[in-house]
């Protein structure tokens, strides 16, 4: 994919010297990261390197202890503090997709999608359902609307999870290894939905080891190790000549099996 010029685009996520510890364990060290509007970033790195922690800090599922994280909401720069109002404002703009889907098993697929628009955005039920059905068509499972999550395959569940996050009309989507829990034959159907979403200009941060996805979609690939951003760059450069020794070791491990 040709590298687009994102310099002119506004910055929507800004991490400045972010640090986080679990007790004595320094899980994020001096993270600096700026994400432009409609930029697609793939984050990779060995297990335990802090990839999940990093993106979970952006919507405050984890709390960082030093540095600042700011997200732009409707052009307004909102900083993540312990102020609940800020946290809620940011969460409305930031959708998240988890490795283990985390659909609500007691609700139908349709109710999974409409829950947040109805209760958070106070949207009329009919309107929420129209939006939800539109999204279910986009992820190609409108016929499952009345079923329960337990009745769907893994790939279908993950597509529902994406649609559920999109139902809130977020500007930014976070993906934490969305295909790692899937059987190989279902990976493609989820990646296809994500590629489509990328084509529509969504800002995306994706933790994944699907290097094919990174090559074709990412504007930037970030490699993390031991809580640090070790190397980053456009996919062509990143894969062709990684500069750091740790990146080379990691890439040789995941590309040769």
């Amino acid at each position: 994919m040709a590298v687009r010029n994102l310099d002119a685009a506004p910055t929507v996520i800004e991490l400045d010297q972010v640090n986080k510890w679990y007790g004595q364990f320094h899980v994020l060290t001096d993270i600096d990261l700026q994400v432009k509007q409609s930029e697609k970033i793939v984050i990779c790195g060995p297990s335990g390197s802090g990839k999940s922690t990093l993106i979970r800090c952006i919507n405050r599922l984890e709390e960082h202890q030093a540095g600042t994280i700011a997200v732009s909401v409707d052009g307004r720069r909102i900083e993540l503090t312990s102020d609940v109002k800020n946290v809620e404002a940011i969460r409305k703009e930031v959708g998240m997709v988890f490795q283990s889907f985390n659909l609500f098993p007691h609700l139908t697929i349709l109710d999974n999608l409409t829950l947040a628009p109805i209760w958070v955005k106070k949207m009329p039920k009919k309107e929420a359902e129209d939006i939800a059905m539109g999204l279910l068509r986009r992820v190609r499972i409108p016929e499952q609307a009345q079923k329960y999550p337990g009745q769907l395959s893994g790939g279908q569940q993950q597509r529902v999870a994406i649609a559920r996050a999109l139902c809130m009309r977020p500007q930014i989507m976070l993906f934490d290894e969305p295909t790692s829990a899937l059987d190989p034959e279902m990976v493609k159907e989820v990646l296809d939905v994500m590629i489509e979403l990328a084509g529509e200009g969504m800002t995306m941060l994706v933790v994944t080891h699907e290097m094919g996805f990174a090559r074709s979609v990412a504007d930037r690939v970030i490699f993390m190790d031991r809580g640090e951003i070790v190397e980053q760059g456009p996919p062509t450069e990143f894969f062709a000549n990684p500069r750091n020794e740790r990146t080379r070791t990691f890439l040789s491990q995941i590309l040769h099996h």
Partner: protein, 395 residues
């Protein structure tokens, strides 16, 4: 390979190796043994009672009871029958059990959710509550609470008088005024039913409105207003009769008004604090049993903590909570028989006196067992039905 079995091709099995025949054989043996044992016990007991000239049968139920009961929900006097005395006991047991179940559920759920609060002080307080109340036997709590009520409050003559001397708090209980019986009260009852129906209607309407416009409506407050308001309206239309029977000190105790007796209060408080500690643990573990991803998914969609709890976590936790909750409800019902320790006249108390006076222990024990069994079975059946309603749909 397809395996097709014609019926006649079934391999022949010796009867003692055939699972169906075996099943029947053992069931017949068990039923037969139980029947034999029952027949032996019943005939022996009857023979013994006959030899001791003790009457059998339930004829005594229609005889005059002749004993006083201190706390009754329905009119009762020593001239009433034994049957009525037992009914008074059943109603007293039901009163304390039903109220106990309701209050223990509400309090226990609040405390269980409170223990999961990120607020350090709140979660510690809830933890201490649980540890304090569930680790001391209920009987001791009953003695303690009863003792506190009867010692901490003054006697009737020095009663604490509240609200311009119309409410009196003493070690004889809480005396307060009640309206003198009036025809309008029956219509107020009708008004109450109308109010409940209206509250239900408001709730339906509010749901429809939220579905249509997205605007939530405070249907709980409006519904409560309807339930309280309609009877008051009826009362006003009925000429607002304001005759109250006010308690007043006569001799050593109060007359007039009505009373919540200390025995009832002590038993109810004891049952509620003790059981709510267990309920809190059940609720807490039910919520903790949920995958952490459920609350994270809810938060990431922008739901507040309260919304996530109400819309996502509690409905799922219910599946885990309901079966052990059933046991707690049964425990409250059965533990209410500890009433006898502090003198609350429940079913066991009525039965005890009846046995002493008539000597017909077998019949009375049968009655008490039947009563507890039918209450317990009703609770179980209802809870099992409810459990099936909330079961998850899997593939």
């Amino acid at each position: 390979m397809a395996i097709a079995h014609a019926p006649h091709a079934k391999a022949r099995v010796a009867p003692w190796n055939d699972p169906v025949i075996r099943g029947w054989f053992f069931q017949i043996v068990v039923v037969g043994a139980v029947a034999l044992l029952a027949w032996y016990l019943v005939s022996n007991t009857l023979a013994n009672l006959e030899r001791q000239k003790i009457a059998t049968g339930f004829d005594y139920l229609s005889r005059e009871a002749g004993f006083e009961i201190g706390d009754t929900l329905i009119p009762y006097s020593p001239a009433s029958t034994y049957a009525r005395a037992l009914l008074v006991g059943v109603l007293n047991t039901l009163r304390v059990a039903v109220l106990g179940i309701l209050l223990a559920t509400i309090l226990g759920t609040l405390i269980g959710v409170g223990r999961l609060s990120p607020n350090w002080l709140l979660s510690r307080l809830c933890e201490w509550y649980v540890e304090l109340f569930r680790n001391v036997p209920l009987l001791l709590w009953l003695f303690l609470i009863y003792k506190v009520i009867s010692d901490a409050f003054p006697g009737p003559r020095q009663a604490i008088s509240l609200l311009w001397s119309s409410v009196f708090l003493s070690n004889r209980g809480l005396y307060f005024p009640v309206p003198v019986a009036h025809d309008v009260h029956r219509w107020m009852g009708v008004g109450l039913l109308v109010g409940i129906a209206a509250a239900w209607g408001i709730h339906r309407w509010a749901k429809a409105r939220q579905a249509a416009t997205g605007q939530p409506f405070p249907s709980i407050i409006a519904g409560a207003a309807a339930i309280v308001g309609v009877p008051i309206l009826v009362w006003l239309l009925g000429g607002a009769p304001l005759d109250f029977s006010v308690p007043a000190l006569k001799g050593f105790n109060f007359e007039g008004g009505t009373v919540i007796q200390p025995e009832f209060t002590a038993l109810l408080v004891g049952l509620v604090v003790y059981t709510s500690a267990f309920v809190a643990e059940i609720v807490r573990s039910g919520i903790l049993a949920l995958h952490k991803g459920q609350s994270e998914a809810a938060y990431s969609l922008g739901l507040t903590r309260g919304q996530a709890m109400r819309l996502v976590l509690l409905p799922q936790a219910l599946r885990v909570i309901v079966p052990p909750m059933t046991s707690q409800y049964l425990n409250i019902t059965k533990n209410s028989s500890l009433a006898i320790a502090i003198g609350y006249p429940d079913l066991v108390a009525s039965v005890n006196v009846t046995i002493n006076q008539t000597g017909q222990a077998v019949e009375n024990v049968l009655i008490i067992m039947a009563a507890y069994l039918s209450v317990s079975l009703s609770i179980s059946l209802f809870m099992n039905w409810y459990n099936r309603q909330i079961a998850l749909k899997e593939r």
